[in-house]
């Protein structure tokens, strides 16, 4: 009886969706595009724009705590930011939660997300700027401030090879992968 219960618990759940591999989820833009102008806020309420991350690569992720696919990839993004620690790439998850700071903070605390900054856009203007239908949506911006790749839906950000792909993209192809 106990053994049967144990087996039932170990059996994979039907309908468990898996994250799409980054290489498949990512659409590279050739030629790169100028990103739209957008702003967002830090946890302290300070305004930020892309200019604040000049000379760095940026992985911009638009998400919300009520969005399951966003939550599904958040640990992978957290892990990615650890893996990118030494490479001058900022992983910037901007939440469009209308509840703002409290919702994001509660989620970070509950999930032990420690390597990502809290960034907010409660009126969702960033989603309008990028003209996206749904979230999560991610954009990779290279060191020259150009939009080089985008990704709609959740992706496996910490998959093997992801760091190399992102480094190649943000360096504008000047650095060997």
């Amino acid at each position: 009886m106990l053994a049967a219960l144990g087996l039932a618990a170990l059996a994979p759940r039907a309908g468990a969706a898996r994250l799409t591999s980054l290489s498949r989820a990512l659409t590279e833009l050739d030629p790169p595009k100028e990103p739209p102008a957008f702003t967002f806020l830090t946890a302290k309420g300070e305004k930020r724009t892309l200019a604040d991350y000049r000379d760095q690569g940026v992985v911009l992720n638009i998400w919300a705590t009520w969005c399951v696919p966003c939550l599904a990839e958040m640990p992978a993004l957290n892990h990615l930011s650890v893996l990118l620690n030494d490479f001058a790439v900022s992983v910037l998850p901007v939440s469009i939660d209308t509840k703002g700071l409290s919702a994001v903070k509660a989620y970070y605390t509950a999930q032990g997300i420690k390597s990502l900054p809290i960034l907010l856009d409660p009126d969702g203007s960033i989603a309008d700027a990028f003209k996206i239908d749904g979230i999560p949506a991610s954009f990779i911006i290279d060191r020259r401030g150009r939009l080089v790749a985008q990704c709609l839906g959740a992706a496996e950000w910490d998959a093997p090879g992801a760091v190399a792909t992102i480094r190649r993209l943000i360096s504008g192809g000047n650095e060997p992968a």
């Binding site: 994250l19 969005c67 399951v68 892990h79 620690n85 749904g134």
Partner: protein
């Protein structure tokens, strides 16, 4: 979107057309009992009513219909892990006294290990509208906010308008939709022929809890049941395990791994919604009672098996590499004693045994104190302290000097007391110290059974900790105490001769090697500079002791001066941990196949079908190093871990790290090594043996990955 909207308008026109003949006979103007759809091609919402007019009853059956494209879903009132349930604002409506929303039973969606509850394909949320003035027209103005998700989520904001004229409340074309939705709203348990016998919650020993419901009634229909719980402080549990007793009229439902401690759930009002896998559902409330899990029954007593494990583990520590160099000293001292009085030999052995047990009592006392202060505790955590490392380094140097005959640490029968060992006066103090240090060093190893015993002890109160640690001490001291009981055994030892001198030199070298190892650990915990400074001071100490010896024999020309200088060197070394020679707290380092440990990465990776291996290790844990060198970092395991479908994470516990301590505790462990393999076939993890072999690791990796392959077929 426009295309779809016109299509549904055509469909409406069709239905309206079919009813046209009836309508023509009626004296009031026909009105569509539905607003237009507002949304896009993924999801849209509209307002509907069952009646064409307000009638005279003062009530109108309305509904919010949400249409969803294939693969999309919207959310129940409790969305589970995440989701925006539909929220409806009736502001701007006229002749509306109240609008009571009902929720059809949800179904479960699982994505990357996250459980959500909602509706696929579409749903109608019935709304019971009460009129302010029965018989007067009704103007409904609803602002509906909700989210719909597939691989992305979209927030929707639909403003819906519907006017219902005054007149006879004849059924409109949407009446059937609303009636079907009402039928899907959960009823009572008795409506399903069931009754609740008990609800209980119990801790699972990992900080989470399990909820159990026992129902009476025909259980067969619940074989595919699902259970949703509202009112939990946090978390969205997965599907229940259902056990029926084959016709006896009892059903048990068990929800495991609820992310709240049992104490927070006990007595809390929870709302349960039970679905039978078809279209019948019931909602009921219960306040679960706290129940001890079966495994914890009789927790007040220490199971004999645990004491046995402690004893056996202690015994096995005797042959572990952490203890062997120190305890082998014992053998040497005994050989030197051969031929002495039986009483001396016996006392010497008892002193070492006492030292060992005193060492375990010291460890137990330290751990109890730390636990009382709420600090993280564990087996071998003294190695995380630079003071301990420095002190043990200096002690090893002094013992080496003793073995080489440069100083004498309180030989039995000798009148000279060591100036350098805290002035421990006594005939058998060296024997006591050997036992004490053997114990302190032994914790850098874990022997088979030690993990079980320590895990049990540290999760309990002071009495249990002391009892189990003393049992481990008795195990480690068993060979010494046995020899003390039967001193004739000592006579079997060879007579001392030149070989004892050679052996002394070798053992002295081994102790210095131990000191070097301790310094290597210090280099990891503080910095290489700090380790080099301590190494310099230790060398200077050796130098002073050597000069002291050559200058004037064991007594020395200036015993006071050299003793003072040695004490100063030891003291200086102990000051090093207080200096700023700390390197910055390490950024988790990745090496080779291994990535830094991030606990939250485990579940999503497993949900994606990857196998995850977690290696919790520490520089001071000798068994961990053995595992790494002989198994983990060598083929075939290294090749297997390098594969892209395997995520290998290494958690370094060399320094104190609360998140790693928490992870260890989730397995009831308080020490390293801990190696766990996860995969679709083993989402809860397979714990590898402390001392592992390559085939065991490969088998565990296969098992963790294996069931996923079976499921894909």
């Amino acid at each position: 979107m426009r295309l779809l909207r016109s299509l549904s308008a055509w469909r409406l026109a069709g239905i309206a057309g079919a009813a046209a003949a009836v309508m023509l006979l009626l004296p009031w103007p026909a009105r569509a009992a539905a607003s237009g759809w507002v949304g896009d091609r993924h999801a849209a919402a509209r307002l509907i009513t069952a009646e064409r007019a307000t009638g005279s009853a003062g009530m109108v059956d309305a509904g919010i219909e949400i249409r969803l494209a294939s693969g999309w879903h919207a959310y129940w009132r409790d969305p589970g892990a995440a989701g925006l349930p539909p929220a409806i604002d009736w502001q701007g409506s006229r002749n509306l006294a109240a609008a009571k929303l009902a929720w059809p039973a949800p179904r479960r969606f699982t994505m990357a290990g996250l459980e959500t509850y909602g509706y696929a394909g579409g749903t109608v949320l019935p709304v019971a509208v009460t009129l302010e003035r029965p018989g007067a027209p009704l103007v409904l103005h609803a602002t509906v906010a909700y989210s719909a998700c597939r691989d992305v989520c979209v927030p929707y904001h639909a403003v819906l308008d519907l006017t219902l004229p005054a007149g006879i409340a004849a059924a409109g074309p949407e009446a059937g939709l609303i009636a079907a939705a009402r039928a899907a709203v959960p009823g009572t348990l008795s409506g399903l022929g069931l009754s609740l016998r008990s609800a209980s919650v119990s801790p699972d020993g990992k900080g989470r809890s399990a909820l159990a419901l026992e129902l009476a009634g025909p259980g067969a229909m619940l074989a595919r049941a699902d259970l949703f719980v509202e009112g939990l402080p946090q978390g969205a549990p997965g599907p229940p395990q259902v056990a029926t007793d084959g016709g006896q009229g009892r059903v048990a439902l068990l929800l495991r791994d609820i992310d709240s401690p049992a104490s927070r759930l006990a007595g809390r009002r929870l709302v349960f919604t039970l679905t039978d896998g078809t279209d019948r559902a019931a909602t009921f409330e219960a306040e679960p009672a706290l129940a001890p899990p079966a495994a914890f029954a009789g927790a007040a007593l220490i199971p004999l098996a645990v004491l046995g494990a402690a004893l056996l583990g202690g015994l096995l520590l005797n042959v572990m590499p952490c203890v062997l160099p120190v305890l082998s000293l014992k053998f040497l001292y005994l050989a030197r004693l051969a031929g002495s009085e039986r009483r001396t030999v016996r006392l010497e052995l008892l002193a070492t045994g006492g030292g060992i047990i005193a060492g375990f009592l010291l460890l137990a006392a330290g751990l109890i104190a730390l636990k009382e202060f709420g600090a993280a505790i564990g087996w071998g955590i003294q190695f995380q302290s630079p003071w301990f490392l420095v002190a043990m380094t200096m002690v090893m140097v002094l013992f080496a000097a003793d073995l080489w005959g440069w100083i004498s640490i309180a030989m039995p029968g000798s009148n000279e007391a060591a100036a350098l060992t805290g002035r421990v006066h006594g005939r058998h103090s060296r024997a006591v110290l050997v036992g004490l240090f053997a114990t302190l060093l032994s914790t850098s190893c874990t022997a088979p059974f030690i993990g079980t015993a320590v895990g049990f002890a540290l999760s309990r109160g002071p009495l249990e900790i002391i009892a189990i640690f003393v049992a481990m001490g008795l195990g480690l001291a068993a060979p010494t105490l046995t020899a003390a009981a039967v001193p004739a055994l000592v006579k079997l030892a060879p007579r001392p001769g030149r070989w004892t001198i050679w052996l002394s030199r070798i053992f002295g070298g081994l102790l210095l090697a131990t000191a070097i190892w301790l310094l290597a650990v210090l280099a990891r915990i503080m910095s290489v500079d700090a380790a080099l400074v301590v190494a310099g001071l230790a060398l200077a100490l050796l130098g002073v002791l050597a000069v002291r010896r050559t200058a004037g024999g064991p007594i020395g020309a200036h015993p006071r001066a050299s003793g003072g200088l040695s004490a100063a060197l030891v003291l200086a070394a102990l000051l090093v941990p207080m200096t700023g020679l700390n390197s910055r707290p390490g950024v988790a380092d990745a090496s080779g196949n291994w990535q830094p440990f991030v606990r939250t990465s485990i579940a999503p990776n497993v949900a994606r079908g990857r196998t995850v291996i977690v290696n919790v290790t520490a520089a001071w844990c000798l068994i961990c190093q053995v595992n790494e060198v002989t198994v983990l970092d060598r083929d075939p395991v290294a090749a297997r871990i390098a594969r892209t479908d395997v995520l290998a994470m290494r958690a370094d516990w060399t320094r104190a790290d609360a998140s790693i301590t928490n992870y260890l505790e989730s397995f009831g462990r308080y020490g390293v090594p801990l190696d766990v393999v996860y995969g679709p076939g083993a989402p809860g993890g397979i714990v590898l043996p402390d001392l592992m072999t390559a085939p065991e690791v490969i088998r565990a990796l296969d098992r963790a990955a294996g069931e996923a392959r079976a499921a894909e077929r």
